[in-house]
């Protein structure tokens, strides 16, 4: 066990835990944001640099501070380590810089992006980003490529987190998905535009932190905050069959894995569950999913809704004692 102090909060964690995991154990408020790290996938993390933290004291044995900010997702804790995240102004400034870098080439097309509302980059930009960009050049764009009938690749939005690449490496067999070119021209692609044809390939949609990989069967059907996530399951011979279905009325618009508060799925689901089972009779619906109150998705959440008590009076006042049909009638001027 190692004792580590993050933002003046002490916690004891097993050896080999990363700083990020330790911070998540304390709570989501302390945990640094992570765009590329995904605890369910090995060797992810270290690329986006948003989770950098300052190590003020390396360990009890070697109390020297680390010279540079370290990626918390790839740095394991040592006994007696002292870490600063939210309480370090330098780290906050550095993180703002990283967010700016991530956004200079990312199209700000949230109003037409399917990921809006559940986008990690959107949340990150909201918290750490500046109100205006200092970048005044053309954004990098890519030729559209078709990667199959279920998954839409929108490369312009990609922030090269490598999560989908690692998913294809680790979940699916016979990897056909990787990164081409280098520098800011680097793009994720199925090799020679070969479609991803695999039972678990749909998971790249769930792991994508931005709207680069989206579900073609859900594309443009609804904004996510108009849909209601419900826990559901079915007997599936390929996966566990535990999913979240996103409903509008009695219609299932979309099926995804069950994401926790850090945006990570509890278990990977197969393409049959994700793309083909879209009718209510396919699923045993367990009940509504808990959604973070701060999330825009909960704006439409039925569970927390209370009947407003003040509205009636105000309506009365506005309507000047008239009933609604009367207010709306033409004669009312």
């Amino acid at each position: 066990m190692a004792k580590v102090t993050i933002d003046d909060i002490e916690i004891e964690v097993p050896d080999g835990t990363t700083i990020l995991q330790a911070a998540r154990m304390i709570g989501a408020d302390v945990a640094p944001p992570a765009m590329c790290y995904y605890s369910k996938l090995a060797t992810t993390g270290g690329y986006c640099r948003t989770c950098i933290v300052k190590v003020e004291q390396g360990s009890t044995k070697d109390p020297r501070p680390m010279p540079k900010p370290v990626p918390s997702c790839r740095t394991t804790v040592m006994d007696g380590m002292v870490v600063r995240n939210n309480t370090s102004p330098e780290i906050q400034e550095a993180r703002a810089g990283i967010v700016e870098f991530l956004l200079i080439n990312h199209p700000l097309d949230c109003p037409v992006c399917d990921q809006a509302g559940e986008c990690d980059l959107q949340n990150l930009g909201y918290k750490h980003g500046a109100e205006a960009t200092r970048y005044e050049f053309d954004r990098r764009t890519f030729e559209q490529i078709d990667i199959g009938e279920n998954i839409k690749l929108h490369m312009n939005r990609c922030i090269l987190c490598y999560r989908c690449v690692k998913t294809c490496e680790q979940i699916t067999d016979g990897r056909v998905h990787g990164v081409l070119n280098r520098g800011d021209h680097a793009e994720i692609s199925t090799y020679i535009e070969q479609a991803i044809d695999n039972d678990f390939s749909g998971n790249v949609i769930d792991v994508c932190p931005v709207g680069a990989l989206t579900d073609k069967t859900f594309r443009f059907k609804s904004r996510v905050w108009f849909t209601k996530p419900m826990d559901a399951h079915r007997d599936c011979d390929k996966c566990e069959g535990k999913v979240a279905v996103w409903m509008k009325g009695n219609e299932i618009l979309r099926v995804t894995g069950r994401k926790d508060e850090f945006g990570e799925v509890e278990s990977f689901i197969c393409n049959t569950c994700r793309f083909e089972k879209k009718s209510v009779s396919d699923w045993t619906i367990e009940g509504p999913r808990k959604i973070n109150k701060k999330s825009v998705i909960s704006a439409n959440h039925y569970e927390e809704t209370k009947k407003p008590t003040y509205l009636y009076d105000r309506v009365q006042l506005l309507n000047d004692g008239k009933k609604l049909p009367e207010v709306n009638s033409k004669d009312n001027g």
Partner: protein, 447 residues
């Protein structure tokens, strides 16, 4: 003072063949090391010699070797980093071209010291002809029983292979080099684990520069203590300097560390002064990634002492008034040089060579290049200069590998020391393409 240790025989005709090389005392160190010394003894000699890595970082070689993990039954590897791509550096090419057997000799001894039976020379793709020279020399060494099974009857086996890269600067970073050598995309790995623990194919690996491995030969021949006598302070031995730019005699020079920079630039034995009788404006002392210094700071330290060609003296004063030894790519610029244009060239290079793995480098290098292009195009504003400074500070220290720093330092140093020139570019853009412009710039720099 000129002191030839590595390049002493470089001028001899036919030295690239094994026969001539052996006539001039070649492979003596292999016989000495394999027949009379234990691997630990060689390591001790290298430690005593104070040899520091010649690739750029200047990390003590003996210490690097001592970090290598030695688990039972796991093979270890030595990899020679011949992916010399730093702009302004061309010493390794010269060394391999003239003295391929010196590198092979150094690699045999070093592999023996590290217990490696399979070693690689990773040569940059553009050095295709050099790879041919190396392969020819390796074939000769195999024939003479200096490589392969049971070298010189000592029971030590070593196979040596040449691998040609595909021309990416990033593959000079040791973990990217290892990835590339494994046949993967040349992306730097996230450290830890360091290559000394898990390197090539997950096995303990040491990656050394060409010049470093060649320097092991005189260390074994004459002893580490003898080698440590050469040089000054912790900068022991000789260093190959690739001198280029506006000097009378560009080329590769072997110097004893500790000569003054002034001596190196103006003496007839080395650069021979600035060409066409012009004045020196600035020097990039160790390859394109180290901070540029104006004349007054490169010749004298901030304290007023003469600056020496050594690791300590060049970095005296930190980045505020100093620079780095780097890989020894010495680029001198005369008074007609535009620092902004030069910086744009460097930035374009780093933008082109960024691997695209981590965000600050991927996005930041391109951004800096675009701003510099805008300034050179006469559309820059004073805000852009501040923005450049801000971007570089947000890249530095936040990337996976040192390429981020390599891209940020030149920008920082150019703005730090030549801010007036940037301001001149943005306030009087109409003068940029005017030749007389440079005279105005020089007056600014001197004032």
């Amino acid at each position: 003072m000129e002191r030839k240790l590595l390049l002493a025989n470089a001028h001899i005709k036919g030295i690239e063949t094994l026969e001539v090389y052996r006539q001039h005392g070649g492979y003596k160190s292999v016989e000495k090391a394999l027949k009379t010394m234990a691997p630990e003894a060689i390591l001790e000699e290298v430690k005593t010699s104070g040899l520091r890595g010649r690739g750029g970082a200047g990390f003590p070689t003996g210490m690097k070797w001592s970090f290598i993990a030695k688990p039972e039954g796991v093979p270890r590897h030595l990899v020679c980093n011949a992916d010399e791509s730093e702009p302004g550096t061309f010493k390794d090419r010269y060394l391999m071209e003239k003295l391929p057997h010196l590198l092979i000799e150094g690699m045999i001894v070093s592999s023996f010291a590290l217990g490696a039976n399979l070693s690689y020379i990773y040569i940059r793709g553009e050095y295709f002809y050099v790879a041919r020279i190396m392969e020819k020399a390796i074939a000769e060494a195999y024939k003479a029983g200096l490589l392969g099974k049971n070298i010189l009857g000592t029971g030590f086996d070593l196979d040596l292979y040449v691998q040609i890269g595909a021309g990416a600067y990033i593959c000079g970073e040791e973990t990217a080099l290892i990835e590339s050598l494994e046949g993967k995309r040349g992306n730097p790995r996230i450290k830890p684990p360091f290559p000394a623990i898990a390197g090539l194919w997950g096995r303990p690996t040491v990656v050394n520069n060409v010049e470093t491995l060649a320097a092991v030969v005189p260390i074994v021949n004459d002893g580490g203590a003898e080698y440590a006598k050469i040089g000054i302070g912790k900068s022991t031995g000789t260093k190959l300097i690739s001198a280029s730019g506006h000097i009378n005699k560009p080329g590769v020079y072997e110097i004893e560390m500790g000569i003054t920079v002034e001596d190196f630039i103006y003496s007839e034995a080395f650069c021979g002064g600035i060409r066409n009788g012009k004045k020196l404006k600035a020097v990039v002392a160790g390859g394109s990634s180290v901070p540029i210094l104006p004349t007054e700071l490169i010749l004298k330290t901030a304290a007023g002492e003469p600056r020496l060609m050594s690791y300590e003296s060049l970095s005296d004063g930190g980045f505020a008034t100093g620079t780095m030894m780097g890989s020894g790519g010495f680029i001198a610029m005369d008074e007609d040089t535009s620092i902004v244009k030069n910086l744009y060239t460097f930035s374009r290079f780093y933008h082109h060579e960024s691997c695209g793995q981590c965000s600050p480098c991927r996005e930041g290098t391109g951004w800096m290049e675009k701003i510099l292009h805008k300034i050179l195009d006469g559309r820059g504003t004073l805000k852009d200069v501040d923005l450049l400074w801000d971007i570089q500070s947000k890249i530095e220290g936040k990337t996976i590998c040192p390429l981020g720093e390599a891209a940020a330092w030149p920008v920082a140093a150019a703005i730090r020391h030549f801010r007036k020139e940037f301001e001149e570019y943005v306030t009087n853009p109409q003068n940029i393409k005017d030749v007389k412009h440079f005279y105005r710039l020089n007056q600014l720099t001197e004032a």
